[in-house]
């Protein structure tokens, strides 16, 4: 029973308003996902639509026996974990710096959040420019202060390419963590700090005993969200290194894209997507558990 449903026209309004969403979601979200799952069981070459054939589990067998799939998975995991680690540490640090009432803080805040809105393509271009081994300003700077003896090949050695993509990712998404943590910090009751001061806690202890426990919940949520998103990222890697040098910065999204686009094995690409989706489901369940979603809406 609804608070409003006594007017039959009211119920119609409710259904009318939800209808566009249902239609859009079915066509542009549910259908593509269903289609992706279906494609995972077919041989699918977009240039030869006449040759589509049922493939059973062979696409999955293909990826699971493909060493590149496993190395993409491993590299993607390393990329994700290191990115999240640095994002969280820097994010909390910057948020704590910004959480002060100082003159001009709004300007600092604005500038530090800015990277979040810079298009990935732009960041990738700038990265390629400043990390250029011969003419890039980063190598020039490091060489001139004597930190390194010879140019670093940022994008053309496997380790440094991985490091560069991580730097790009950390640079772009740390503001996300900053905004979330800052919002939470602003709601920490000041009495808690006063109480800790009265109890004789120093600045560091206050951080450990007051700030950190208050941030726990928001950090868990942010980390889970960011882990899922980062694991799925495509552009942040592809635009900077195209997965290279060789395949050393492939993650599953790049692997799936290359299987579909370069090798024209859409079925294999879709199967990779399905595997990613399953991992995402597991991640979501963890998230829902952690955040306690669904409890308050049960009566509905």
């Amino acid at each position: 029973m609804s608070r409003f449903s006594f007017l039959s026209s009211d119920r119609a309004v409710g259904l009318l308003f939800i209808a566009p969403f249902v239609v859009t979601a079915l066509v542009f979200m549910v259908y593509p996902i269903a289609e992706a799952i279906r494609m995972a069981f077919f041989n699918y070459n977009p240039l030869r639509p006449d040759l589509v054939s049922y493939a059973g589990m062979s696409n999955f067998e293909f990826i699971f026996s493909d060493p590149l799939f496993w190395s993409s998975f491993g590299q993607g995991t390393v990329w994700t974990l290191l990115s999240i680690l640095f994002q969280t540490v820097f994010g909390v640090g910057i948020a704590l710096l910004l959480h002060r009432k100082l003159f001009g803080m709004a300007i600092f805040r604005g500038m530090l959040l800015f990277p979040y809105i810079v298009p990935t393509v732009v960041i990738a271009l700038i990265w390629r420019w400043i990390f250029n081994p011969e003419i890039g300003v980063v190598n020039y700077g490091l060489l001139s202060v004597g930190l390194i003896g010879e140019p670093i090949y940022w994008l053309s050695t496997p380790t440094m390419a991985m490091a560069s993509t991580i730097m790009l990712n950390v640079w772009k998404y740390t503001p996300f963590v900053v905004i979330c943590v800052l919002a939470r910090l602003q709601s920490v009751p000041l009495e808690l700090y006063d109480a800790a001061k009265v109890d004789g806690a120093g600045a560091f202890r206050r951080f450990l005993d007051v700030t950190l426990p208050q941030l726990r919940e928001v950090l868990i949520v942010v980390i889970v969200f960011r882990t899922i998103w980062t694991f799925n990222k495509f552009e942040e890697i592809y635009l900077l290194t195209k997965g290279g040098p060789g395949t050393s910065t492939f993650n599953l999204a790049v692997y799936s894209f290359e299987q579909s686009m370069a090798s024209l094995r859409l079925g294999v690409g879709a199967a990779t997507g399905v595997v990613m989706m399953i991992m995402l489901m597991i991640g979501s369940v963890v998230y829902l558990r952690v955040a306690g979603f669904g409890n308050e809406e049960k009566e509905a």
Binding site: S2, R3, G14, F114, W129, L266, M276
Partner: protein, 299 residues
């Protein structure tokens, strides 16, 4: 000056110092890009590199916005390169604006109506849909892109800006929905009931009371949607194959094709791609932060 005051002044000064260092580090790539874009070709490769150009020039911007052909010196002869990416820059810019605004408009309208319905009426699925959206929010876009591409092939919409509008709706709708739902939930039902008693019809309540109240949420969702659509490379790369219909992101990456990379031009393009987002960001930063609170993070 007493010891305490000296101590607190020192603390403040060191805090500002740390802030400045962090901010400069974060902003350096952007500053460097801006600096490069304003340098003449001769200065771009100068050693030592200069942060503030000795002689500033707008030639890179003129080349992009004027759409003129680029010439470059080769073996003493000046030769045309044929159609160059720079020629298409303004066209791509317009394309990007069209698909970004188009998809944002659709996502916002659809999600606002749906969020209102979900928070005010009861029917089967009303508590499932927001979480379904959240799930969609977390889906990798790589899953959607090829099935949608095949759909566009069947609809004969490939190489059409409309296909990108649909593609972006697919990636922006879930979080617009989630954000608007969270926002609508926070609008007290009492003000709608007050309007009903005041004599407003259901549609008047929605248009005159709910929409104005929900405006901050609508703005926040719009910003996110615009950022995501403007940012996209994947859908543009897969759906579009003629130079005329490319968006900025895919188009600008074409600057790398060929043997010669014109860094000044690229950095100018980067700056121009960032400016609309920067304006949006500066004008609506407050709402962006509010959106984070409501949408991405619960509580």
């Amino acid at each position: 000056m007493t010891g305490d005051a000296w101590w607190s002044a020192t603390k403040k000064a060191s805090l500002y110092l740390v802030l400045c260092i962090v901010t400069l580090t974060v902003c350096f790539p952007l500053i460097w890009a801006l600096s490069t874009s304003l340098k003449p070709k001769s200065e771009i490769f100068a050693t030592p590199p200069t942060l503030i150009p000795h002689s500033t020039t707008l030639e890179n911007y003129e080349a992009l916005l004027g759409g003129r052909q680029q010439y470059y010196q080769s073996g003493g002869a000046s030769q045309a390169m044929g159609p160059t990416p720079a020629q298409f820059f303004t066209r791509w810019f317009v394309n990007s604006v069209i698909v970004t605004l188009g998809s944002t408009l659709i996502s916002i309208v659809v999600s606002t109506l749906a969020a209102y319905s979900l928070t005010r009426f009861r029917y089967w699925g009303r508590s499932v849909i927001p979480y379904f959206s959240l799930l969609g929010y977390m889906m990798p876009s790589i899953i959607f892109v090829f099935p949608l591409f095949l759909m566009m092939v069947r609809l004969e919409l490939t190489d059409n800006l409309l296909s990108l509008v649909f593609g972006y709706v697919c990636i922006t709708l879930p979080f617009c929905m989630w954000l608007m739902w969270a926002f609508m939930r926070s609008i007290p039902i009492e003000i709608e009931e007050a309007a009903l008693i005041d004599g407003a019809s259901r549609y008047q309540v929605f248009a005159q009371v709910v929409l104005p109240t929900a405006l901050p949420g609508i703005i926040a969702a719009s910003i996110f949607s615009i950022i995501v659509s403007w940012n996209d490379y994947l859908f543009g790369r897969v759906f579009i194959n003629s130079l005329d219909n490319l968006t900025l992101t895919v188009g600008v990456m074409l600057f790398f094709e060929g043997t010669h990379v014109d860094w000044g031009l690229l950095m100018a393009a980067s700056v121009l791609m960032t400016v609309p987002m920067a304006i949006l960001f500066m004008a609506l930063q407050r709402h962006l932060v509010a959106g984070f609170g409501a949408g991405a993070v619960k509580g």
